[in-house]
Structures are given as structure tokens and as C-alpha cells.
Assembly symmetry: C2
Homo-oligomer: 506 residues x 2
């Protein structure tokens, strides 16, 4: 992910384009955390200096100390060294001999080819018990009703500009989700629609009782019915925000949270699978060979209009350095007065406009595909962390343009009878940069059919096959796929979740 955070501005200056309005200030507090500008088209570049970790010896020590891999990998010190080896790039999975992951989930990961010191992906897989708070609805609880709820949880966190944010999110995000669900334990287990309003003191009659509301209701159409499902979605959304607030609070207390991370999270709760994505990781279901997308990527290209609108409404966020307009290439000073194609925040098409002085500023959004950037710096637009991220050679913060909110999609497991070959595949962009959905589906078919349906190791074998297929093998001074194209030089992490779930098949 590191190559998604870089300075195009710096390149621009060195290559003779219009200079940015501010001079480079190497002594800015954030200059140290700006990553080196790696060549984005060369993810297989030789081992480079680590991101922010290598800026000073002290920081390097701190980064090394905080380096970790998911605990479920049960890595020995030797295993940790192998997992951290950019040259060998050994694929890591939980040991056969250890405790299986819930649902016999398969997992595999591999470190990048050298673009950052450590693997900046993190992963988490947990069964989380949520104890309900005392009765929130005011209705005395039936003794027969369960006191708590369990949810299954899988998370992939793809860090950039350091591994701190990903590491922190992998440790804490599911706890925030649990906190958000605590108030809902009773409500989610009650088949009647959720109360719209909760009394301040238990035992008070629920004021959302429609009989209290006939007056205002008459104008306001009927009250909206809110589903149990949308309460879980709201809980996950707010958990992402609280995770972000916690990271920010930590920064305020002077503990730097290194970098930022994309977060892709799956929850199984009461028959439904919730897939929450903030960033450019991806989740797909492969069911009977059919592909069902369960997420979409949030990048400067897919979120162009949101970003431009924000820049348009809050021009102070652009400083005097950026324009919210998009141009198909950099505007040159000598082109002043000529007419160039542009897109404004309301447009999906292009039109010509006369170039004015302001158009010579650097565009808020520029580039295409993996090279697309916000403020010439970052290539993803949603995620956690990045609180100290600044535009290179400037004090302009980028965080206001980044959103911590995930898009949550829901899949009802009970609506379809799943067979052992139906899986939910989660991968960081290291997988998807070089692998299409169809190729993943083909690998699912090929690998799973080689194992007995009740062989639980098949899902780990599948995750390993996917990671290996995206990494490739070392050949011609690089990692190459069988078709001789470049493999992914990024960190690659994959979960394979069998959709049978607990007890659905043995």
C-alpha cells in the first residue's frame, strides 16, 4: 500500500512543471512521516528504506518493536523472521497442528517485495461475545431469553506509511463493534420492530409507543420502521468512527499512530453476514461458481465527486495550493487563456473551459487507476488513521478529505442453502491488483475440488493458492506470474470464509 502514498508534487517540481506555492520545508513536524516517493509502477522494486520507520534511528526502533503478525499465525521468533523476509516471501498460514480458525476459515499472507520494511497488512479473526447492558427498553427481561450475543469477526487492515494504524485497528476495532452492540443485545433478540426511542430510566413506558404520537404523526407521514439489520449496520458504522476517534485521541496524547490503513471487516450475526469496507480491499462471494461482489473500492477515482464537492464547499481545505477542478493533465502556465477540458464536482462528462490563473494550481484529484491521488499524495480515500498526513512540502492536512466510514453490505445466509464450496473471499489490494474476480472463482473451483468437502484444510490451501497466484515466483529480476506479467510486489493477505458457517454442514 505504501506506493499509494507518495509525493507527485515533489516529482513535478523536479521535472520542471509549475512550482507548488510553498517551498519545501524539511523541518516541518510532519516531514519526517512523509514516506519516500517510491516508483508507483514498480512494486517489485528492491528492498527500500522503510516508510516512516526509518526516518530516524529512534523511530526505526519504535517501528521494529511494534512489528507484529496476527496472533493466530502462532509464529515462533524464527517464523516471524521468515514472515518478515522480503527476499524469500514465504507464504504464511496458521499451523495445521494448532487450533483451527472459526468456521475453518482459511488464511494466508505474504510480505511485500521490499517497498516497506515490514508487512503493513494486519488481520484479525475472533468470536466475540457481547454481554447486554441492563434492560434498555424498560420492559422487564424474560428469564428465558439469552443474556448475550455472539458474533464472528474477520478483519483485514492494509496499512500505509507505517504499520501503526493497521496494527491498532486489528487489535481494537472489534471491541468497538462489541461496545456498539451492547445496547442492542436485547433489541436484536426481540422479533418486534426496534423501539424508536429508549426511555432514560428502565421501567419507564417506551415513549415511541405510537399512541403517544398521534398529534405530530399526522403531518409527518407515518413513522419510519427501522429494521434490526440497519441497527447492526449503524453499530458497525459508528464503531469505525469511534476507532478513528480513539486513534486521534491517542495522537493528541502525544503517542503517534503511525500511518493509516484500509479496513475490510466481516461480521456474522444472527444469520446475516455484514461486510464493511473502507478502502481498496475487496470482498466477493463465490457461490456455485457465481461471483457476488460484496464491496466496492474507495479511491480518488471512485470518490472524485465527493472530494471535489468538499473542496468546492470548503475551499480553505485546499489552501492556495490546489484547485477542486479536474483536468485530464497538468495545465501549463503558457496555456493561460487557452481552453482545456475539465470536470467540476457536478459533472461526469468533460467540457472545455478557458484557463485562468487559479487553474494552474495542482488539482485535488489527479491520475488514473493505481496512480490516482488525492492532493498528489494518497491513493485511497477511506480508512482509519492518517491523522498527521500532510501534503508533501506543505502543512496542508489531507485527513479532511478522507472518510473513516465504511460501506456496509448485508448478505442473508439463511436465504440460500450453501454447499461446502461456497466461500466469501477477502483480500487486500495486493491480491486484486493482479487477480480478477473470475480468476479467483476459477481458483476456488480448482483448489476446493482437489480436497474432500469435509477436509478443513481446504480453505487454508485455497487462501495459500490465491496468495501464491498473486505473488508469482522470482524470475527475471522480479516476481512473475505464469503469464510472465509482474506479480504483486505489495503485501498480500487473504481470508477464505466457508459460507456453511457453524453447524450448517460438517
Amino acid at each position: 500500500m505504501l506506493n499509494r502514498v507518495r509525493s507527485a508534487v515533489a516529482h513535478l517540481v523536479s521535472s520542471g512543471g509549475a512550482p507548488p506555492p510553498r517551498p519545501k520545508s524539511p523541518d516541518l513536524p510532519n516531514a519526517a512521516s512523509a514516506p519516500p516517493a517510491a516508483a508507483p509502477e514498480a512494486p517489485r522494486s528492491p528492498p527500500a528504506k522503510a516508510g516512516s520507520g526509518s526516518a530516524t534511528p529512534a523511530k526505526a526502533v519504535e517501528a521494529r518493536a511494534s512489528f507484529s503478525r496476527p496472533t493466530f499465525l502462532q509464529l515462533s521468533p524464527g517464523g516471524l523472521r521468515r514472515a518478515d523476509d522480503h527476499a524469500g516471501r514465504a507464504v504464511q498460514s496458521p499451523p495445521d497442528t494448532g487450533r483451527r480458525l472459526p468456521w475453518s476459515t482459511g488464511y494466508a499472507e505474504v510480505i511485500n517485495a521490499g517497498k516497506s520494511r515490514h508487512n503493513e497488512d494486519q488481520a484479525c479473526c475472533e468470536v466475540v461475545y457481547v454481554e447486554g447492558r441492563r434492560s434498555v427498553t424498560g420492559v422487564p427481561r424474560e428469564p428465558s431469553r439469552g443474556q448475550g450475543l455472539c458474533f464472528y469477526y474477520w478483519g483485514l487492515f492494509d496499512g500505509h506509511a507505517g504499520g501503526g494504524a493497521a496494527e491498532m485497528a486489528s487489535r481494537l476495532l472489534h471491541r468497538h463493534i462489541r461496545e456498539q452492540l451492547k445496547d442492542l443485545v436485547e433489541i436484536l433478540q426481540d422479533p418486534s420492530p426496534p423501539p424508536l426511542c429508549l426511555p432514560t430510566t428502565p421501567g419507564t413506558p417506551d415513549s415511541s409507543d405510537p399512541s403517544h404520537l398521534l398529534g405530530p404523526q399526522s403531518c409527518w407521514s407515518s413513522q419510519k420502521e427501522v429494521s434490526h439489520e440497519s441497527l447492526v449496520v449503524g453499530a458497525v458504522e459508528n464503531a469505525f468512527q469511534l476507532m478513528q476517534d480513539e486513534q486521534m485521541a491517542r495522537e493528541r496524547r502525544g503517542h503517534q499512530v503511525e500511518g493509516g490503513c484500509c479496513a475490510l471487516v466481516v461480521i456474522y450475526l444472527l444469520g446475516k453476514v455484514y461486510v464493511a469496507n473502507a478502502g481498496d480491499s475487496r470482498a466477493i462471494i463465490v457461490r456455485n461458481g457465481e461471483i457476488i461482489p460484496m464491496s466496492r473500492e474507495f479511491t480518488p477515482e471512485t470518490e472524485r465527486q465527493r472530494l471535489q464537492l468538499l473542496g468546492f464547499l470548503k475551499p480553505e481545505l485546499l489552501g492556495s495550493e490546489f484547485t477542486h477542478l479536474e483536468f485530464p493533465r497538468r495545465v501549463l502556465p503558457k496555456e493561460l487563456g487557452q481552453r482545456m477540458l475539465y470536470r467540476d464536482q457536478n459533472m461526469t462528462g468533460w467540457a472545455y473551459k478557458k484557463i485562468e490563473l487559479e487553474d494552474l494550481r495542482f488539482p485535488l484529484v489527479c491520475g488514473e487507476g493505481k496512480k490516482a491521488r488525492v492532493m498528489a499524495t494518497i491513493g485511497v480515500t477511506r480508512g482509519l488513521g492518517d491523522h498527521s498526513l500532510k501534503v508533501c512540502s506543505s502543512t496542508l492536512p489531507i485527513k479532511p478529505f478522507l472518510s473513516c466510514f465504511p460501506e456496509v453490505r448485508v448478505y442473508d445466509l439463511t436465504q440460500y442453502e450453501h454447499c461446502p464450496d461456497d466461500v466469501l473471499v477477502l483480500g487486500t489490494d495486493g491480491l486484486w491488483d493482479v487477480t480478477t474476480d473470475c480468476e479467483v472463482a476459477a481458483t476456488v473451483d480448482r483448489v476446493l475440488s482437489a480436497y474432500e468437502p469435509n477436509d478443513h484444510s481446504r480453505y487454508t490451501a485455497l487462501a495459500q493458492a490465491l496468495v501464491l497466484g498473486a505473488r508469482g515466483t522470482p524470475r527475471d529480476r522480479g516476481w512473475r506470474l505464469p503469464n510472465n506479467k509482474l506479480g504483486s510486489g505489495d503485501d498480500i493477505s487473504v481470508f477464505v470464509i466457508p459460507l456453511g458457517g457453524p453447524g450448517s454442514y460438517s
Copy 2:
């Protein structure tokens, strides 16, 4: 459409809810243009006072003077009276004997059941010739290349709070599109990619020549390639904005443009169909029985997050009267301190929050379905006009929340061999409120199969059948459908465009 612009605030006050912060000021300049609060659930209500037209006798005259139906209907004075008769609700179509509409397009319309004085829908169907401006690219024009371009144009405009904006847009929007296309005549006819930059003086070499740009290009990834198609999309988008600017300029000169309108526009140009929608009209293609949606509706529900974000970023637009948060029903003062479900602009799910004083304000977005409203006033969020629209009993303008920008979808006619039964159906919400896409497809099949494929009147018959099917027949003190449900009491207008196009079949 009138019932989409009403005052829920006024109802609220009268029904005992929390009072709005401002008292009713009947002498406000905009009070006169606020429509009477019609019962939204009774579109078949008996003939009521017209929208703003009936506010004063002078205004009534003005409204009557400006009342018109599409010229292609070729209505005699007697025909105009019949078209304006709320009791009979006779379906209107172009006469068999007159000149056929381009492409043998079918059209039918019917006036509302009395909710506004006149039919506030308008329609336009034209073949527009675009003469190119002098060479814009600087390259001498080949003598063999055509000097101009033709496009086919269909527009439906669904007015609210008066017919002025719809009438003006139906007369002028295609001219704005023509103006926008003038610069593109030469470029669209040239198969090479559009130039990114146009020289100020013809004959100057095109500065977008890549050889000029090697320096800055190296950092900025490659320049974006812009398609011809996206230039047409941009031209249509900007034409909507210019139409809106013209309406605003007219208002500034003291000529009131009465009300606002949704706009659904189709352009056929160089083999492609462009469907531009701003509002809650709808376009679908029925091809070989299959339904292809060509638009989506823009309402307070579908645009909730855009509206809430704007209110959040620009709280001054909410005055002290509204909150950008959404609640599932009105919050009561006595519920202060309790916890109620809410949605913020980043959320798709719901969560509980403690009710504070600010939450007692009226929500920016409220209601469901046809009763959903922005600022308790308007039920559509995109369109033209509405420059003077204010919140009832307040001076707070609503226009900042409305967008004039359409969503443009493109359909390549050359990618599929169309048969005479393949059609593009455009309808105002009067059709779609009571008719599903599938019902339209069934009517397409039923009506067209009753006519010879080369009988050009079949498309008019189909449009009439669709309008009749949505209007119903007078029975039990209302207009009723065969299933005894209420028919649409709204204005209903339908275009049926055969997709064979000119010369594709005879």
C-alpha cells in the same frame, strides 16, 4: 407534481407539534408563491385553487396567459379547453392527420384531477441542427467534412408550484444544448481522440500535443483520454446549468419564473442515445421484453446523504430551524434526554443518540416515499427553477439544496439490432406512481402486437394506452384502475420512442 411541494410545517403547527421557530409572516415576498397545502395522499382531490397562479387575480391572469400545451399537439382553442378540463381528463396526442413526430415517436398526456389549475407538465420533441463554429482545433477543416450536426431531442418537464419553469425549459433547454455542442461539431466528427486543450487562435498548433508535455507528464502519470461520448455528456450537463442560470437571470430582471420543474431529456446523436434526468421522471428501454432502466429518481430519500452532507458542511443553510440529522419520526420536547434512533450523513444504518435541544429542530429530510420532503416543503431534489422557493413561514431558501445537474446515461444504439417493438419509454411521475416497469413492458407487448410493425400510429396508441392505464376511469368518486386502486390524479405525460431510429427499419 404540486403535491410534492407543500408545507408540512404548517400542518405540524396546527396539529400541536413543536412550533417552528419563526411565526408565519403572510406579507413575506415569497409567501404568495407558496402553494396551498394539498393532502399528499389524495392526488384525486377535487379541483382546488391553482398553485401560485391563484394567489392574486393579476397572477391568475398571468398564469392563464402563459398556459400552453406542446405545439406538436396542434391544439385548436377548443382542443386547448378540452386538454385543460380536469373533469373529463381527455387524453391528448398529436393528430393522425398532422406531421408525424420524428422517428414516429408516440406521445400522450392528460391533465391532473384538479390539484393545479393547468397541466404543469410540458413536452418538447425536435430535430436540432448544430452549426459548427469556425475551426476550433486550429487544424484547417477538410472540405469533405460536414459543416454541422443534427441531433434528435425529446424532453419532458414536470412542473410544480406553477407551470412557468417547465414551460420555459421546454422552449429553451434544447437551444442551450445546441449552444454547448457548437464547439464540438468538428471534434465529434473527427475519429481521433478529442484534443485536451484548444488554442486561442485557430491555426496555432494544438498545445495538447503530447510532445510538448513530456516534462510534467512524467510525474502526473499519462494524460487522461477523454471520449467523444463524455464530451456530449458534459455538454448536456452544462446546458442544464445554463438553463438554470438563464432562469435566475430572468428572475433578477424582475420577471418571475413561476415554480420549478423536473427535466427528463433524451438526445440521439451520432449513434448514441443520451438520457439526462434531473428529478423524479423515469426512462426505461423495453427491448425484446427485457427492461433496461435508463434513469433513476432524485428525491429526498435517494439524495438524503448529499442533502445531509450539505447541511452539515454549511449549517447556515439550515437557519436555526432545521437539523441535518434524520430521525424516524418527529422528536417531542418531552423526549429531551432520552435516546432516539437517528442517521447522520455518513450513515446508512441507524443508531441511538441522546436527544439534545438541537434535535428538536425540524429535520432537513423527513418522510417516506411520495411524502418525503426537503425542509418540509419539496419532494424532488433535482430540476430547474425554484429560485424563489422558500420554506413555508420562513425566509429560508430551499434552492441551495436542489441540484440542476442531471444524471446522464448513454445507450449505444449501434450495439444491438433493434426490432420495431423495441422502445424507449419516458414518463413523468404521474405514470410511474401507479405503474411498474413490468406493467409498462406488458403494455408495450400487448399494444404493439395488435398493430402491424410498419403502422406508425402504433407508438401513439401505446403512449395513449400507458396514460389511460395510469389515469383509470371515473368511478366511486375518483379515478380508479381496473384493480379498483386509485389511478394517478397527477398530470401524466408519456413519450414512446421507437429504437429503430431513422432508416433502421421502414
